[in-house]
């Protein structure tokens, strides 16, 4: 295959890379004053990458000797990633301008663009090495973003924590990759799948090695999607990182890591589904339970949302445990809806600031918000009920889809326990609603921002019952994406 055709398949990454490099030069010469312009330019680059997804990039072909897959699955995941990245860029200038410290810097959108390149490669990877390169590119940008508020000790701490634990996770993953390579003789997903299919069931050294490789790869991936028991970095990083960065971490890299896990599980290790299903089921139930129980005592809204993201990853993993095309489609639908709910919640968190514009993060400060800022309180209530999965909000459909897949695959105990644990989760979402609606008003927040307000309205509209009208479209798209893996 000629290079032109292969580059056409990777056009979104090409657009993003060139855009990021160009903007970096602009940033270097024009300085902090150009931050807003560069942010909008970065959003335009992301939009361009979205457009570039149409055509060869989602044609289902593979490029570079099978190391890169340009299929509908990657297309769907990339769309979500680019949208979430664009929102994260738009949120930042206002936030950094308001907060203390000279943090409004033009490198921020550039880093997000580079991270988006890494994430695009993650969801397109069809080879363990492509996977690793994509993951590291994404992570490196993310470490810097976490500590973007240089004068804030919590932000620096978050960056360091994220780096150390991320490096540990990469090490575990790389160890697993080396085992898999050693026992299968290849890093290409298709050939690994062949080796797993041909491996003797039990007893031999080879099957033991393959099993170890699988366990380490899944442990590394669990770190990246912050599933229990590898979740411990999440609350600290989410709390310490600047809020727009947290909103970014909770959405785009999550989609990328989940997409990566799906592709590895289904295409590379599909024949060993019986083996990894146990791991996934444990991680799913443990994440749902711990995400729910640990969130109850939280006083900080960002920590609460961190546990909420752990909880939600658990639900998404239920779809993966099913291991069917319907299950994968359900996970993708879940992630799409999850992004809308999470971005919405963080948009509201951004509104939590005192009259000087300094961020407030305590849940107690939301007290009586329904009387001081009714529209904002209504928005957050919608996101909270939706995250809890209460109909008629759209978050219910996300849970509907994954549980449908699990029941279809005959995983009844998983479905019953998963949904029973979701009731525990409902408690802490209700607590936020209770604080806003039942308690007496506390101090007022500073005035809102038109852009952020508009984004809240948009995300709330997606999460509202109106979202149900999009189900046929969403189902068709996610099913097409899921079929690309099988």
């Amino acid at each position: 295959m000629n290079y032109a055709a292969q580059l056409a398949m990777t056009l979104p990454e090409v657009v993003l890379s060139l855009g990021a490099l160009a903007l970096m030069l602009v940033a270097a010469w024009s300085g902090p004053n150009a931050t807003r312009a560069i942010s909008w330019a970065a959003v335009a680059v992301l939009a361009g990458a979205c457009v570039a997804l149409v055509g060869p990039a989602t044609s289902g072909g593979s490029a570079f000797d099978g190391m890169y897959r340009a299929d509908a699955f990657a297309g769907f995941a990339k769309t979500l990633i680019y949208v979430a990245a664009a929102v994260a860029i738009l949120l930042a200038p206002g936030f950094f301008q308001r907060t203390a410290g000279d943090d409004l810097r033009p490198e921020y959108p550039v880093l997000i663009l580079l991270s988006a390149v890494g994430m695009g490669i993650m969801v397109s990877a069809a080879d363990l090495l492509t996977l690793y390169v994509g993951l590291e590119l994404q992570s490196l940008a993310a470490y810097v973003l976490a500590s973007f508020m240089r004068r804030d000790a919590r932000s620096a701490e978050a960056g360091l924590k994220y780096f150390v634990l991320g490096a540990l996770a990469s090490g575990i993953l790389l160890y697993g990759i080396s085992l898999v390579y050693g026992f299968t003789g290849s890093t290409l997903f298709d050939e690994i799948a062949g080796a797993y299919a041909a491996a003797p069931l039990a007893g031999s050294t080879k099957s033991l090695g393959l099993m170890f490789g699988l366990v380490f790869v899944f442990a590394g991936l669990a770190f990246k999607i912050s599933a229990v028991p590898f979740h411990m970095w999440t609350p600290d990083v989410y709390e310490g990182a600047p809020t727009p960065v947290t909103a970014f971490f909770a959405t785009a890299p999550k989609v990328a890591a989940v997409g990566l896990a799906l592709r590895v599980a289904i295409t590379a290790m599909g024949p060993a589904a019986e083996q990894w299903r146990q791991i996934v089921i444990f991680a799913a139930l443990a994440s749902i339970l711990l995400g729910a129980v640990a969130a109850i005592g939280q006083q900080n809204i960002k920590r609460l949302l961190a546990y909420s993201s752990i909880n939600n990853v658990g639900f998404a993993l239920i779809g993966l445990a099913a291991g069917t095309p319907e299950g994968v489609a359900a996970v993708l639908a879940y992630m799409a809806i999850y992004i809308a709910m999470t971005l919405g919640s963080f948009l509201v968190v951004l509104q939590m600031r005192d009259t000087d514009g300094q961020p407030i993060e305590t849940i107690a400060s939301l007290s009586g918000l329904s009387r001081t800022r009714p529209a904002l309180a209504f928005g957050l209530a919608v996101f909270m009920f939706s995250l809890a999965g209460i109909p008629p909000l759209f978050g219910f459909y996300a849970k509907f889809a994954v549980f449908y897949a699990a029941v279809q695959a005959g995983l009844f105990p998983l479905a019953v326990f998963g949904i029973a644990f979701s009731v525990i989760g409902a408690y802490y979402y209700l607590r936020v609603v209770k604080t806003m609606y039942f308690d007496e008003p506390a101090g007022e927040y500073g005035p809102g921002d038109r852009l952020e307000g508009g984004l809240i309205v948009a995300t709330a509209a997606i999460v509202s019952p109106l979202g149900y009208l999009a189900i046929p479209l969403l189902t068709a798209w996610t099913m097409a994406a899921a079929k690309a893996l099988f």
């Binding site: 109909p391 008629p392 219910f396 029941v407 009844f412 609606y437 046929p472």
Partner: protein, 514 residues
Amino acid sequence: MNGFPILSVMLLVPALAAVACLFLGASQARWLALGATLVNLALGALLWLNFDIGGAQWQFVEHHEHVFGLFGWSLGIDGFALLLIELSVFLMPICIGASWEAIEMRVPEYMSLFLFTEVLMIGTFAAQDLFLFYIFFEAGLIPMYLIIGIWGGANRIYASYKFFLYTLLGSVVMFIAMLYMSIVAGTTSIPALMAYDFPPHVQTWLWLAFFASFAVKMPMWPVHTWLPDAHVQAPTAGSVILAGVLLKLGGYGFLRFSLPMFPEASAQLTWLVFALSAVAVIYTSLVALVQSDMKKLIAYSSVAHMAIVTIGLFAFNTQGIEGAMMVMLGHGLVSGALFLCVGVIYDRLHTREISRYGGLAINMPRYAALFMLFTMASVGLPGTSNFVGELLSLMGTYQVSTTITLLCTTGIILGAAYMLYLYRRVVFGELKSDDVRAMPDLSSREMWLLAPIAAVVLWMGVYPESFLAPMRKDTQTLLARIDRAKPAGDSLPTKGTGIVPAAHAETAAHGEAH
């Protein structure tokens, strides 16, 4: 009614009004809510007039399959659903009226939530799609949680959490069962599932999953404990809608899902329903007897009345099922009215302590008369709505289990005891304190709230045929479906010789009256 989507319109009117209320001031929101609920009442009347009694099983059907992917927008009603929708639209304007002066704080939100509740109640009864039903059924938690939590009494936050989490836990297991059913049967249509035969051993599991939800909603002993808390803390109108309509969702669920979809399991587990109901009748009646809080007393009496509903439903015969429906309708009206009566004096004295009152017959004669009527109706005096239902329900149960009937009939005696005891303490005796003496009699607004209910209570008691007719054919359809699993009765009635047996004479009498 050809082609006019009346059910969708009945959902749309309050839904639009609910959104509009949020943008209005207090007074405008009140009038808009009243207007919207009255429009729905008119639509409800139109619905009843156009309902073809004895016609097709499902009427006013609207099918838009797969608009939501795996499930669709399908609505349609039979006789049971019709009657419960009528009950909902009838009580809604009364609820709005009851909140006219009692609610002063955050009126637009309050009215909006009530209208939203109305949408969900009508939707639950009209849904013909499994998941559409679930969405309407479960979504009702949100407005009730907020209504109890924002406008409730002193302990409202505890009550609102308890209400929400209790009922949610009950429902989620049912959701998994619904997923299983839709996958195995390959359809989400409720009429199709009502004709689908699941293997008996699967039925047992599915039945238990549905039971978990409906038993909590009903509520049945021992999962009834959320109800007294929710009722006591909720504002008056919240209690009315909770007792009047939301408790009926459990009974409706048994009627629509448990019985026709899992007949074998229903027969097999009848003992469980009967045992829990018998305990509930005796235990909660005794608990009601010692309450010092008026609302709590009525809440416990609701649990006892709902137990009469469940035994009737699982009697597997005409009298039992029709009786259960009549108790549901009667209880919806009477307990709603009783909560309004409590609300009337609560608005004046701001306490629900029974011992603070006394001698109201002297300064509030009109109130005393109406309260008397509803007390008697709650007791099940002939000529009132509850008599018809309780008698039919117990007669139906007698054919299956004499013991359970005997135990549950004590509920009527105990019911008379606690209701009359309540009435005596509140209305009779001397006027004890000056603030009670200063209480004015019913205002014309309050008369307008209570008089329509009183009229319907008497109508149901004197001429129940109006309410029995729409569901007669549906009862027979249901019985034809579940007859194969009918459990053997222990009363062993023998065929009479020439003399019409008592059970038939009752129904025959209704037939002749018609």
